[in-house]
């Protein structure tokens, strides 16, 4: 699987490099892989590339953490008090259906050009899949387990800790895995809209300077970051599935 993936990547890079060389494509259209690498090395040495990566990673980290915790808390609240779900549904749907691109300028107006609006945007997009994953897990607990809880006269807390929470873990982490890609996108949108640091900022300044190599380099870097983030949660999800799902 991994070997084939690497072979595929090598092939694409070879085609890219070969094509640029054969057809003599100008740099401002499509720079060669070597030119992109050189540009990345330059940014690494002279423009604190790692510092920008760190900024973006931290925005995603804090935003994701916030959205994750808020999603879990909301699901607990909604499962316990269904009326609270009905009351907050309009607000949640509004936030969820509004294009994130449209929310971003508002957050920038309110929270400035620093990491704060990006963190909030990431939290907003993370919230929804995590909340629905947790809530559906809590709602569809195997009925037989609830019978067991009843025979054992478990307290609500015991029932939650021993039965409902473990039952919800697979769908919670399925939701979180979906949220990783959304979170990545949200952070970059925030940075593209207005920032003075972060990978998205480097990307948009590359665009302003018609620096195609930087733009391509940043796109590749973001894909790599998003992919690792996704794989991390996919691995967690698989572990949860193996341990906590039926069967």
């Amino acid at each position: 699987m991994l070997k084939r993936g690497i072979a595929g990547l090598v092939l694409i890079v070879a085609l890219w490099g070969g094509g640029v060389f054969l057809f003599n494509v100008p740099d401002y259209l499509l720079p060669s892989p070597a030119a992109v690498m050189a540009r990345m090395a330059f940014l690494y040495e002279n423009a604190n590339l790692l510092g920008h990566v760190y900024v973006t990673v931290m925005e995603i980290f804090w935003g994701f953490l916030l959205g994750f915790l808020a999603g879990i808390l909301a699901a607990l609240l909604f499962a316990r008090f269904p009326v609270s779900e009905r009351m907050s549904t309009p607000l949640i749907l509004l936030l969820q259906t509004a294009p994130k691109i449209a929310i971003a300028p508002l957050l920038l107006l309110w929270l400035g050009l620093g990491p704060a609006p990006k963190i909030v945007l990431v939290a907003i997009v993370t919230f929804f899949p995590v909340m629905t994953g947790m809530l559906s897990g809590l709602r569809f607990v195997n009925k037989s387990y609830l019978d067991l809880a009843r025979v054992l006269k478990l307290s609500p807390l015991q029932r939650f800790l021993h039965i409902e929470l473990p039952s919800a873990l697979p769908t919670l982490f399925a939701g979180a895995t979906v949220a990783t890609t959304l979170a990545m996108t949200a952070a970059v949108i925030g940075e593209l809209m207005g920032a003075n640091e972060g990978v998205g900022y480097l990307l948009s300044s590359g665009q302003e300077n018609a620096d195609t190599a930087t733009v391509i380099g940043m796109v590749l870097l973001l894909s790599l970051m998003g992919w690792s983030f996704y794989e991390l949660f996919e691995a967690l999800r698989r572990r949860m599935e193996a341990r906590f799902a039926e069967g």
Binding site: R150, V151, R243
Partner: protein, 247 residues
């Protein structure tokens, strides 16, 4: 003692309702071992679930005089219902842990029960690593662990191989004689019903109701000699005849 008066249960289905249990008046003395037989759909499970409080009666009452017992009944479900994220040991000690029994006391009880049901060596296995029969044995051990005064068993041995089944039958009789529990056991085997019971309830379907009860006078302790007793064969023959009539 378990007393039911006019106990009845109907389930609402689309376009009507089904009478799962016609009004049932019955009295089960404390310390009896009641075998329940009858074709599928005659309300055996419903009867046990009503006694356990897992279903609300549509009419009539069930009274359990189990004094101050916090958990009056233990239930062995038809399909084991082990929690998939807990090991065999943790499943068996679940009733103890949630009742606040001391850890060392719990370990002692669980150790004995694991020996009793023949799961030595599988303490740390997860339920999905066990065969159906082993899962049911773990479920039986779990139901015994907190020593409830009433034990309800819904076809507990259906997935257990014949030899183990006979061993477990004898163990169950020993436990019953030692502890004076009231046991209700649903089975498809008329031989098992006769061998184990101090009373046999024969139920019949459409609507589910109690057709007949037998008091079993076969002497205790029961064993290989019981299976040679003409009175035992007589009872088995009568039960078989009843079952044919209920078809």
């Amino acid at each position: 003692m378990i007393t039911t008066s006019g106990l009845t249960k109907s389930f609402d289905l689309e376009g009507g309702s089904i009478l799962a249990l016609a009004p049932l008046d019955h009295r089960i003395e404390k310390g009896s071992f009641v075998s329940i037989v009858g074709p599928s759909g005659c309300g055996k499970s419903t009867f046990l679930r009503l006694i356990a409080g897992l279903e609300d009666a549509s009419g009539g009452t069930v009274k359990l005089d189990t004094g101050s017992a916090k958990r009056p009944v233990g239930f062995v479900f038809q399909d084991a219902v082990l929690l998939p994220w807990k090991t065999v040991r943790d499943n068996i000690r679940f009733p103890l842990d949630t009742a606040g029994v001391r850890r060392d006391e719990g370990n002692r009880i669980v150790g004995e029960l694991i020996d009793l049901v023949g799961l030595t060596g599988f303490e740390d296995a997860l339920p999905k690593q066990l065969s159906g029969g082993m899962r049911q044995r773990a479920a039986i051990a779990r139901a015994l662990s907190d020593d409830p005064p009433i034990l309800l068993m819904d076809e507990p041995f259906s997935a257990v191989d014949l030899l183990t089944r006979e061993t477990l039958n004898d163990e169950l009789l020993r436990i019953w004689q030692r502890t004076g529990k009231t046991i209700l056991l649903v089975t498809h085997s008329v031989e098992e019903a006769a061998y184990l019971g101090s009373e046999v309830m024969v139920m019949s379907p459409r609507p589910g109701r109690l057709k007949k009860t037998y008091t079993v006078d076969l002497p205790h302790p029961r064993g290989e000699a019981t299976k040679l007793d003409p009175a035992y064969h007589q009872l088995v023959a009568e039960l078989r005849q009843d079952m044919r009539e209920t078809e």
